[in-house]
């Protein structure tokens, strides 16, 4: 699309404009009950949805297996620990100094309980102070994207293919898909060095699943990209410098430690 703009004729501009209006309108209108989706009308659909919202091909067993039951019990215990840790957050985490308590670190590695993910992510990514420091920016970017973003077509194409096996994203143009559209579009004009790059839709969709709020998701994404601790910017930026560096490193490691396997490639 960018290419079309550089050498663009008037007709190309009209086409981009038309795309933009159509896509915006589709998300504004939301999910239409006229949509024919045979899978949504199957009576056992809800029996096939797991606790994360993913839809399976077969009905899930009515009772949990022993292993799952055991895992659930452990998770419940961890949940209690996390609750008290969140209450005493300043003891466990000093973000300005990038300092985390050993307890917090070890608990993160054991796995954040599903029910605590939203709070934990919100705290660890320091979303609150991001919003406070930049009030209104998200709304401004969202509005700007609606009018000027050049990535809307690609974003729309990808939302159509992002977590469609999850109940939250199943219905075309539903509430979750609309939120995802807003966040990705806003980010595409906020960070112009990246714009929108395939792969971001899955990442953002997952953040949105737990955080639920558009603005929080936007800043969570922004933190993952530009906070020095995560620096995912280089994984998505044009030319993928960080990705290529990682892949070179990976090759070097294989070459040094597993030379026989390396020969096969």
């Amino acid at each position: 699309m960018a290419k079309r703009l550089v050498n663009g004729t008037d007709e190309d501009f009209r086409r981009i404009e038309k795309d933009r209006q159509e896509i915006n309108a589709a998300y504004d209108n939301g999910y239409s009950t006229d949509t024919v989706d045979s899978e949504l009308n199957t009576p056992d659909l809800l029996d096939r949805v797991d606790k994360y919202g993913f839809i399976h091909n077969l009905k899930l067993p009515p009772q949990l297996s022993d292993v799952e039951q055991k895992r659930n019990n452990i998770e419940k215990l961890r949940e209690i620990k996390w609750r008290s840790m969140i209450k005493d957050w300043s003891k466990h985490c000093v973000l300005s100094k990038q300092r985390y308590s050993d307890k917090l670190i070890s608990r993160v590695f054991k796995g954040i309980p599903n029910s605590m993910r939203n709070v934990a992510w919100y705290k660890i990514l320091d979303i609150e102070s991001q919003i406070k420091a930049q009030p209104g920016i998200y709304e401004k970017m969202k509005d700007f994207a609606r009018k000027y973003s050049l990535e809307l077509r690609q974003i729309d194409l990808d939302i159509n293919r992002t977590f469609r096996n999850n109940y939250a994203y199943k219905k075309r143009y539903c509430q979750r898909q609309r939120q995802l559209y807003h966040v990705l579009a806003a980010y595409s004009v906020y960070n112009t060095e990246i714009g929108y790059c395939q792969g971001m839709s899955t990442l953002t969709a997952l953040l949105l699943m737990y955080l639920s709020d558009e603005e929080q998701t936007f800043w969570a994404l922004s933190q993952l990209m530009s906070n020095i601790k995560y620096s995912m910017h280089g994984l998505f930026k044009s030319g993928f410098p960080k990705l290529i560096r990682y892949s070179d490193k990976h090759e070097m490691i294989i070459k040094t430690l597993l030379p026989k396997i390396h020969k096969k490639f």
């Binding site: 960018a2 290419k3 079309r4 690609q154 194409l157 990808d158 159509n160 293919r161 992002t162 977590f163 469609r164 096996n165 790059c197 395939q198 792969g199 839709s201 899955t202 044009s238 030319g239 993928f240 990705l243 290529i244 892949s247 030379p259 026989k260 020969k263």
Partner: protein, 213 residues
Amino acid sequence: MSGKSYQFKIVLLGEGCVGKTSLMLRYVQDKFNDEHLSTIQAAFIKKKIRIGSNSVELAIWDTAGQEKYHALGPIYYRGSNGAFLVYDITDIDSFERIRKWVTELKTSLGDDCILCIVGNKSDLEKNRNVPIKEAEEYAKSVGAKHYSTSAKLNQGVNELFLDISKRMIEKFESSENLESINHQSGNSSNKRNTIQVVDDSVVQQEDKKSGCC
């Protein structure tokens, strides 16, 4: 000449949303999903087939289509025996993109790689935007073959993979012949059907040993 086995690498290239993943999944798993997931970076599947008395193992590399990922192309197509350059027959831009890939593959892989230009979504014939004649002529002009497929209706997909496999075998055999001619005239070492594995890590390790003592 019976019972040979071959290993080939095929790479799928083309603009986003033209149906690269769908073609691959249709061929390997005979599935079609209207709402599949978009490919990030690349995906990889193996499939074994028999052609006559020969067995062929295909390593199929599927890539992400967004223009930004073009930069990663060389990582995926290096060493490919065949390439599918896929476009959507309803989208003229996706066809233009093919030309870029063709030039690039020709420069980096030369004539070693069998090129197939694939017009996918032939079930949407009524919305066709890429004239079939133009596509076929273009394919001919660059020494590639043109195919029409529909991953959705399962049209032309098996034929496509079978045909490229046959052509890769031919190519492989003719380059082998060339090598054996070289061999007869004394130019090359006695490798024909065997690959010599030169293990230089042993040498390295020995070097290390002598170095540290």
